[in-house]
Symmetry: C2
Subunit: 153 residues, 2 copies
DNA sequence: TTTGAAAGTGCGCGGAC
DNA sequence: GTCCGCGCACTTTCAAA
């Protein structure tokens, strides 16, 4: 299921990424088209999976979630069932915002948001008790300089 | 400007994080309230900045943005004007999805999304030509195991 | 603070071009 | 394909309890 996107599609995506609450008319005017075609393009991009879920960005600090860690994980085990276990653990934990499998010396990176350092330690203890991990380095964020979900188009 | 959130507020946030396109009626039913009070709570949380921008998540791969790097940056300069320069560079570059200032040996971490390795190299060259950097390590993501914008409530 | 109702707005879909 | 217009659902406001 491949997709071809023209310039108008990309403009629409840009507008939706910036503010998904804009009305069709407004978006249509901005991209130089009108309601129906814009609506059809959006529907197609949704069906194709180009446009995924629609969400709101919530301010973590205002919720009392004040700590953010990047966790570099090295493991000695590389079998399929170990990986399966690790994946399901990471997916099940709501404080893990993001997880990537990496190329190179470090096997995985996690982005973890928690109330404070103690809450991170609880997460860490839970993680290493569930899966065998060779080495963990946690990088503590002091300041979020930039955060965007908007991909460059 | 501190905020007190009760259980209903948190449920509303949860619903909005999961799917911001739901109608007020649906959300109201799920959280056990009705339209107007839910609407007022949402408005207040918006004003307080708890609820930020409303966006759609776009599939990077379907747009041909197939590479994701985590960039660990160490610098030898820690003066205010260097930092200012670094910040504005990072903020101006659309391929930088996320940037944090860290505690510890590594000074900054960036999350960068680009078409491919060559595009990363162009970004890298541009970055080091604009600001003086002591050491850079790039971690290449092979697979995005998890990604969510939904904070744990 | 909630309820219900009323007015305004925008969506989703039909047609005509 | 794009434009027009209608019906319906939704949002937003405002009384009143």
């Amino acid at each position: 299921m491949d997709v071809r996107l023209d310039a108008i599609d990309r403009k629409i995506l840009g507008e939706l990424q910036e503010d998904a609450s804009q009305s069709l008319d407004v978006i249509a005017a901005k991209v130089g088209s009108s309601k129906t075609p814009v609506w059809n393009r959006i529907r197609k991009m949704r069906e194709a999976g180009v446009i995924g879920p629609q969400t709101v960005i919530v301010d973590a600090e205002k919720l009392g979630i004040e700590a953010c860690f990047f966790v570099l994980v090295r493991t000695s085990e590389h079998e399929a069932d170990w990986q399966e276990k690790f994946l399901s653990t990471v997916r099940a934990r709501p404080e893990v915002m993001e997880a990537h499998r990496l190329a190179g010396e470090i096997d995985y990176i996690l982005k973890v948001r928690v109330k404070n350092a103690r809450a991170y330690d609880e997460f860490y203890q839970a993680l290493i008790s569930e899966v065998k991990i060779f080495n963990v380095t946690a990088l503590l964020s002091m300041e979020e300089i930039k955060f965007t979900t908007a991909l460059p188009l």
